[in-house]
Amino acid sequence: MLGLEKKDTRLFLIVIGLTMLAPFLLNPFPEGSEMAQFNAGYPDLMQRFVIFGIFAIGFNILFGLTGYLSFGHAAFLGVGSYAAMWMFKLFGMNVVPALLLSVVLSGLFAVLIGYISLRRSGIYFSILTLAFAMMSYALAYSVLATDMDGPDKQGLMQKGLTGGETGLQLSVQDPRILGAKAGADGNTPVPNFFGIEMRSATEMNVGDWVFTFSAGYYFSAFVMLIAFYISIRIFRSPFGMMLRAIKSNQQRLNYTGLNPKPYMLAAFVVSGMYAGLAGGLMVAMDPLAGPERMFWTASGEVVLMTILGGVGTLIGPVLGAGLIKYMENILSKINSEILHQWFAWMPDGLEDVVVTMIYPFIGKGWHLTLGLMFMAVVIFLPGGLVEGGQRIMGALRGRKAKDGKPDADADVKPAE
């Protein structure tokens, strides 16, 4: 289907199924039950799953295929966000032109950063990209945030190009030459896809369960599916093969008459465009762009996502992004009261001990859990969650094979 091999088609169909059914699958617990806090099926979080999924898929095209570890990919995320914001401010609230500008601008920015950073490899490349990202952060935070209108005017550029610390925000005074300056309620308008507001959602009640279908989520999911499809095509293309060859042995590539530089730059730009797309989508879901989006921790996060899920695998980065965003939003909400409720059945003294022991790993301490998990994955499953899934499938198949039913294709990957 769509020019994919059987195995990839199956994976793609699984991903389509899961993303389309996500509002059900991520809401397994009835509303009002104790477990309801583990539900992830609300639009804001689901949007984050797919948007960071796009970010990680793009990062994986660079890191997974070529082995070049960029530590500054958040810069493209930020550029994408600011680009989309300016599109909203100047032209109108339709998300399509905003996303297009995000992709184009971040692509151009990636040409510049990539051209310089790719003169070095290994740790030097990582440091160069990190330096660029932190310079971009500094630009967004202060340099580009000065009053560019002049002191006696209160115009569009009053807070500069980026809005500085508070970020770039919509205002009813924005020109928006192709759309309404304000929404129907007089407030700032909402991003839309040819009239469908990203914020709109329908709720469905089935017994005690509440499922929310949001336009924003489905739009983002659709964009992610396109991004995922393109990434499969890149992985299976001659271009993808050359990128893997760069990772494997650049010397041989050189002496095989191939020039690694343009290949690397192309991979860098493509992955920067993915990051820009993700940044643009963030703004399309919630029209606000701040400089913290370019901070080095944001660059580090996408590295974690990719490694956690499985470097160089198709679905791994999406899994990693989902897991980290789930932990960030769900684990961090658990507090000591909830823990006491859970362990109320224990004798009082023991309950306190258990709660005290678990407490550092939840709430604001969710990073600790993430760190431990990351260590466990890197040590025991260097191939990430995908390798874990493959091992489980392998074990199951092994049992089946013993029953006399061998199964030929052993590399099915689990999906989110």
Partner: protein, 251 residues
Amino acid sequence: MGILEVKNVGKRFGGLQALSEVNLSVAENTVHAIIGPNGAGKSTLLNCLVGKLIPDTGSVMFDGQSVLGRSPHEINQMGISRVFQTPEIFGDLTVMENMMIPCFAKRDGSFEMNGFGAVRHQLDVIEKAKTMLEDMNLYEKRDMHAASMSRGDKRRLEIAMCLAQEPRLLLLDEPTAGMARADTNNTIDLLKEIKEKRDITIAIIEHDMHVVFSLAERITVLAQGTPLVEDTPDKIKGHPKVREAYLGESA
């Protein structure tokens, strides 16, 4: 005039004059060996031919064109392929993929952005890679990771990858270094077979006299960065200067 003309090449590393006044002419369709004791400058000379090093003086012409100042991939596209002392292959890729990459390089040049067309639809490349692997008796191993092959197979694969580019000049840097006798003989047979089947010039740097005298039609002896003599194998064998260079004055 030979296909490869090296004139007055000199190369200095700090205080060490690695090469001085090297003149070498490799005639088309011959096997030319470059021998010499350790430190004679054989590898430096080779690196000057493939673009890894740029000589301080002199010129290197391949087929009438200068190679100096060009990068390795450009020189390779001109028709010079290099086999390394320790096989350089794409260890993480399968044998088939290893074989396809030089076929792509031959077909599409040094850069081709094809990010959307599937590899499995590049039938001409697949067919060519398959033929090459069959020629080298490696086709059964096509799905193996190249890194997990035996050293002898890696060497065969590397040579096959170079040949897939249909080079006019094949440079071999001690192709049998560290090999057992049987593997060495296999490599000699392989190179002889290649020479018989194709219009190709082979320049070989070698330590092992057995290999040199079984293959070479011309031999250049290098000592202390400069060519001592160039002649046929028979004449080289008894040449007093060569004995001197290898065994010292007293011999």
